[in-house]
Symmetry: D2
Subunit: 337 residues, 4 copies
């Protein structure tokens, strides 16, 4: 059972509810979010069900626990969430395209890519300043310097910024620069990081782990929501299967499936999902046709020289062609680009 | 190295080539197809390369072996194949939808479904008379009786027929009734069955095995082609992964990937691929956006009573809605329904 | 519900039972095996449960249907089955090692290998005369000639023969030569082939499909048993996963799992399971420690020249060392080699 | 190229080498470990190869880069590493068994389990104080209180302690109590955490991610080693596959494989690996037969009441029986328990 409190609920309200529930012999778990507090009740549901909890001061909603995720469930909201990232709406009629290099490498290169993708219609710039790399000897990102480069491009182009945070100790730093904080696939079950971004006010882009079921994916989103941050965008980015002709198997089934199970917006990463630039356009079209709310695409001015993931990056002109092709598909499913 | 002979090549031509190649110390593998003969050469390629084989009488083409599949490779044709199934073209501008029940159950039910899907725009009727079932105690299909029911619907509606063949001993029987012979996912590496349908003149619909890589899939198609039947349609129908929210993981990446690697048409089965009727429409749209040449969809008048696979079958009216939605998507990618 | 009849049950007995069951409004499925007949009842179990079926003439046992496989279930027998292959017992205290080349290539080579593995303690000779190969251009086996070579080695060494059958049309031929008919992983769900070997009297070695769950594996065994052949040996041979450092992932968990679920003996193929000769010894030891009843191992006198699967074949002297190491492990778990 | 410095190398030595390498136009990456410093050189290897680097003061070894992991590679040491955890040797002749509850729940329960497993022959107590749980509403562990309970059992029984650390911010705290710091499967690619435990002096038990290849597993170990902590123990704990009869698929192939590729010790977790208590004994025997250096096993006095993972926990008396059965298997492969 989940008790969602109103934003205006007072400490006294909260204390009152907790006291009442504890008297019933049940355990209480309080998630004090920035905007609102959520009280989880662990124990026999039947005992609570007969209590007039919804009539208590400060209570917005009482939800019975049928699915393991509660706040992320479609039933919690009844309709799709639209998330605001510094003015950009994600989850509405407009399909939001995020584009940019895998990692931030230098100021000039980033600026060129930023200008190009902006011109082609992207609304958000992607680029990693902190990079999770399989090898300790590989380029690990520019850190705060990279964040500053991203900010420069934002100032010049108006593009919003999505960038990854990898460490609980760096959340505050990244939040200072980013419009959307990205939690990467490898950290989808780094629960302490999820809790930390759950305390942020800025939207979080949560990438699906490469071997996470959709249920586990939604459970990880639940960590963010239950800590008070309801601005969570889900991102399908390919799962690991036996197929080796692609780097991962982009699982588009997850798009309509999540749309049925959850109110959260879903975007698709065809670049990591396939690992092959020449499949990116086709899979982007398919993603939109399947109902995705956006795309996150790797674009680089000289993919063969990229510090990471060159094989899956589009040249700006190929990205431009792709964007032109996406328009009619978006229209065909009642959306716009 | 593969030597493809012209349809009009004589036995003398063939004997002459074989003799020449053997003299070079190489092994020869002759595939005598119905329409044409193919000679495979095993051994040091360099020895053959200097021979003027293409100038020999009866030779159409000499191909060097870079990929493990040769006749199925894009390079072999240079363009997409269009396959004719009793007048229906598969692989051209028009997207071909095949629809019908999982298994043929009775004459009346089949006729109702046939009329309904025809009206909604399907061109081919699907339905199994021989059913591969995990359990020996499950309904195994009506056999020849089922084939006759299919033929009846063809007569009434003009729909073409695609139906599965499971046993080398039944190929002749099934070919008498079917317009397209289906080889199911479980038999994708039943090589004797592949050879047998490779000797047929009618098109073959080859379904991808649930754990087959795209390369293995094309190798299985190569079995059919190398036995002389070039009318092979590939069908992506979902692969087995760890995800358990769907029955299989429909792998749409395979569509643009196969289009790059092969000249053969590709269709998609969103019903088996997802195992959930409420994901079929979204994934059908996505399949077409990804470049599929057709769909094969399960439709049943009362899914809950179906002898098999009810959970993934659409009601005729839902199928009709879906077909209407697919039109604009097809148009958006330069195709038509 | 399954009614197992006594071997001596008459046609009249059977007819009588069928008539009775049909009168109750239930469907009947009769499997007429060589040794005994089994009657499957489909429909409401409660209706049958109150009938005194076990008292009917000719009835040996009536089993309620809880698991989807019945005859293969542990409950059906209550104890482990011991299967006789021309005098060799599989499933008893002695661990049976089958060894030999992947494919039968020539008489002399086979004889050398046969003599070597016999000397090291193998009891059964493996070797494919009919070979399922991913490529139509690869060596497809010597056919009946290969079977004759196997028979020659049997005559000289006393080794029993296990060899693969791939086609329903070849079952009779292979049964003439083999002591154990092998159904390969690719054909684990070739249900017509399963039915055909289910009509044989000789034992069948059924290999697990590379993406088959243990439940599906047992369902395939059920096809063989329900056609009357109870002499079915199961073989774990590696499943397909994302791991690419080994050819397959040998799944030893399946050994104790199947032992709990079924009465059938289980052997392990560490050669195909790992695809690497230098892992074969360690995984063979592990297989025996996990409870396997036997091993099937590839041995070749010059692995680098083998027509197939050289990388996973042991040299005879390495096989000999391995056999010596296996003895103490067998003893440690109460078995003998 | 990797330059490993001697423990006694001075700052001046290091500065000198770096200067020299940079002059050659190459990038330098310095990992300042507690015990020794490692210098990675990124760029054209040929330029360095002709330099007499090994003759420089402070240099112990110069290694060319062939595998992506260097310090973890077998070639780096030439023989197996034996790691000391507060007096217990892991990787030597003796097989080390770690046992205890999934999570630390209360002082008395933990003490009972500790005494029981000690009596049966375990040398290390396992138990989570910080618990990674899929659900934010599930028991998250007792935190430092749990660590104190573990310490109490250590004092009473002499058992060493292995316990998980989940957050970079908690490494210092956990290191104060633990003898071995565990990095869980979900954090195998939490690279910041790996770096942090790489700076510790105490041994690290690194669990394989559920979808990590063995290569990726070794790359993650490389993160720990390249930060100066060479005391890394690898733990195979099951991978995610399509099989759903077990919770994961314990991949014993990884044991001999890692033994060939790396010098690091490998232990096996049959409890998480199978998720079923009744498979734990058989898979423990198999693990030892395959060459594992130890086991980590879940034991709980009342599994059905456990806060987590009850289904895979052994009762102390079952654990005792298992330990008795393991002795002969260890002996059969030249080890001891």
């Amino acid at each position: 059972m989940i008790i969602v409190l109103r934003p205006e609920a007072t400490k006294k309200d909260i204390g009152h509810i907790i006291e009442k529930v504890k008297k019933l012999g049940l355990k209480v778990m309080v998630s004090q979010g920035v905007e609102r507090t959520i009280i989880g009740i662990i124990g026999e549901e039947d005992i609570v069900r007969v209590q007039p909890l919804e009539a208590y001061p400060g209570v917005e909603k009482v939800m019975s626990i049928l699915k393991p995720y509660k706040l992320a469930a479609r039933e919690f909201k009844g309709r799709a969430s639209v998330i605001d990232a510094d003015g950009i709406k994600i989850g509405g009629k407009k399909i939001v395209v995020m584009a940019g290099p895998c990692s931030v490498e230098d100021q000039d290169g980033l600026m060129s890519i930023g200008k190009a993708v902006k011109k082609s219609g992207a609304l958000v710039l992607r680029g990693g300043a902190f990079k999770p790399r399989s090898s300790p000897y590989a380029f690990q990102g520019l850190g705060e310097e990279g964040l500053k480069y991203l900010m420069e491009v934002k100032k010049k182009t108006g593009l919003k910024i999505v960038t990854e945070v990898m460490d609980t100790r760096e959340v505050e730093l990244v939040e200072r620069y980013a419009d959307i904080l990205q939690v990467g696939a490898r950290n989808m079950q780094n629960f302490n990081l999820l809790k930390e971004v759950g305390l942020c006010k800025k939207p979080v882009l949560l990438k699906r782990g490469i071997s996470a079921t959709v249920k586990e994916f939604l459970m990880s989103a639940e960590y963010i929501l239950s800590n008070g941050n309801f601005n969570c965008i889900l991102c399908e980015r390919g799962i690991r299967t036996f197929e080796d002709a692609t780097r991962f198997t982009l699982d588009l089934n997850a798009v309509p499936l999540i749309k049925k199970l959850s109110h959260l917006p879903v975007i698709v990463d065809p670049s990591h999902g396939t690992g092959k630039w020449d499949l990116v356009s086709a899979m982007s079209r398919a993603a939109i046709a399947a109902g995705a709310d956006g795309l996150i695409v790797e674009v680089h001015c000289s993919p063969e020289d990229a510090f990471s993931d060159g094989a899956q990056s589009l040249l700006p002109k190929k990205f431009d062609v792709m964007m032109k092709e996406l328009g009619p598909v978006a229209k065909a499913v009642g959306r716009e680009l």
